[in-house]
Symmetry: C2
Subunit: 368 residues, 2 copies
């Protein structure tokens, strides 16, 4: 696929674009709900469409371990398996190997790790990561990289950066289905601008149809994160989609867009929803709090999602206290709607050259 | 409300009718999904409508303890609280007091019991049960009774029967909203035909717009249950709806209808669904079994519900193994659809004078 990304408009550094993928068009800036194990937790595919989800994310690490990529391929690929006919992005599994599995051992060849499910031993390489993602059939697949955490020794960050470049070259060589699946590269380099520059140059040199910024939101203070982000987007190509991995809060999304990011994913709306935390135009609240016991208002009075049109805070709080699954469903539904709607509103503001005004307005009302 | 029940057709002892309630018409024979705590577990009200649910059940015991009937009344009643605008039936709380709570102590006045939530002490009387149900605003409310289990001493069953008659009289006297809420009486008498006759005569003498058969499916063998049921429906009024409480399996529903029952409720489709057991036209299967690991077929090839149209057994099994909530949703959705569809098919067969043929056909294919 050539010219799959069309940059439609810029308003400051904020961008509005269109990304043509095998299973449909994605309007950027976009947020991707996370469907780790082939399901966006508590949601059905129909509900995801109701709230306007255009692309979801699947986790290679989890799907490789269970049910296995060969099983999914035999059953027609991840889209058919999960009954989702819109685009899917899968990650490389690298990040999950470090954060989820037991003992892991990094060599130049790949990563030895133990399954968090049964302790079985596995060896993940760039080639295996791409093989898995080819089997899954996702529209966007990610190169295999090493994500460093914060804080980290600069020397280690440089080693990881160099290994990442080699792994991403091998990822591109291993990719057999570039006609239907776009392979994105990932820029690393930790919290060091010189290393970010070095990584960006090396990764861009490999030439991918899209680039991710990895290794942010890994424990560092927000000001450092955004300083590095703002620097990195400056040195990324204009005509390719930019994906900030694993970020973030509503304010993070707004700041990210203002710095020229096109794509985001994060478990925050889904995980927070299950824990009782819901996002509103005034900030976050926890629906389990006693103050909502008799509250007839919806989660967010400014929201027109299914949950807000039909249910009171009192009812949802009751469902939580009673451990009813509908509570998790309604909160997740609302939170994802809130995120996707925020992206849509940002996109419209960009197209109408009033992004800065929109941003200031949102930030002023949003308290935490 | 007068003449709220219209018996439309009989085919043998099986009946098809219409029951006009405050929030709509219910076509009998009917199955009522159980929404114990103000939610049919895992389901949204919209999904209940999708699968054709015409009436759901709420549990007085649970809603009294949490969030409290006064809170629900303050927020506009159970229909508004739970965003369900079709009919609701609530039980009296009596059965749940015996099965769920700690120490309980029965006097002629009522039942002392401890909350299963916080151990707090409560005293449930016919008057309080009706007050709670009046506050909830359900379309059908149940008289307060004492349900005996199996086996039980005949002397005790007789005592409980007599107490039940007194309690049901007091229930009727306490009921303040007979214009909008139908109060059903309950016939007890255990596994003794002479006591069933005695109870039926006393309860029918009080005069209710509908009657339930209580105290069946409480541990007795199926042949005893159906012998007592067949006997009891013989001595119940023809022109009033008949409700068999807490029953049962698909075969129980078919046998119940064949003996002249109009209404059923049971946690079986919802609870089994959550445990992985799904009903098919060939019998029950457990979707977690290894044999379904790579099975591309739907739960039931003869079913056209949302779950069966969109998902394979392999996918649902994967969701179970991965503890994804969508697994519980899809199984519950399918099981309730299976139950409600079975009722619809029975109703059609009755109206077309081929119920016996339908029953034989179903039983022949249904293996467990």
């Amino acid at each position: 696929m050539k010219d799959n990304f069309k940059l439609m408009h810029e308003d400051g550094k904020a961008r509005a674009g269109k990304l043509q993928l095998k299973h449909g068009v994605v309007n950027t800036p976009i947020f991707m709900p996370v469907g780790t194990q082939g399901s966006v937790k508590t949601m059905s595919p129909d509900e995801l469409k109701d709230i306007g989800a255009e692309i979801i994310l699947g986790n290679t690490y989890h799907l490789y371990l269970r049910p296995g990529h060969k099983l999914i391929e035999d059953l027609g690929g991840l889209h058919k398996f999960a009954s989702w006919d819109r685009p899917i992005l899968t990650d490389s599994g690298g990040f999950q190997v470090f954060s989820h599995s037991g003992l892991n051992d990094i060599t130049d060849e790949g990563v030895h790790f133990q399954s968090h499910i049964d302790g079985s031993k596995h060896f993940l390489t760039p080639e295996l990561s791409i093989e898995i993602q080819n089997s899954l059939g996702s529209d966007i697949i990610m190169a295999f990289d090493e994500c460093t955490t914060y804080p980290a020794e600069k020397g280690y960050v440089r080693d990881a950066l160099e290994r990442t470049t080699k792994w991403e070259k091998r990822s591109k060589e291993a990719h057999v289905n570039s006609e239907n699946q776009l392979l994105f590269g990932i820029i690393q380099g930790g919290m060091h601008k010189d290393l970010r520059k070095e990584s960006a140059e090396q990764i861009i040199d490999i030439d991918f149809p899209g680039y991710a910024i990895g290794g942010l939101s890994v424990g560092e203070p927000k000001d450092i994160m955004f300083d590095i982000l703002d620097y990195t987007t400056e040195i990324m190509p204009q005509n390719k989609p930019r994906y900030l991995m694993g970020v973030g809060t509503p304010l993070d999304l707004i700041n990210g867009v203002s710095m020229g990011v096109d794509m985001f994913d994060c478990v925050m709306p889904t995980r927070n929803g299950r824990n009782g935390t819901v996002f509103t135009s005034q900030g976050r609240i926890n629906i389990k709090n006693a103050q909502f016991k008799r509250d007839p208002k919806p989660i967010d009075e400014n929201c027109d999602c299914y949950a807000c049109k039909n249910y009171s805070r009192a009812y949802i709080r009751h469902l939580y206290k009673s451990r009813e699954i509908l509570a998790l469903r309604l909160n997740t539904y609302h939170n994802l709607y809130f995120y996707l709607n925020l992206m849509k509103r940002m996109r419209r503001a960009i197209l109408e050259n009033r992004f800065e005004e929109f941003k200031n307005n949102f930030v002023e009302n949003y308290k935490n």
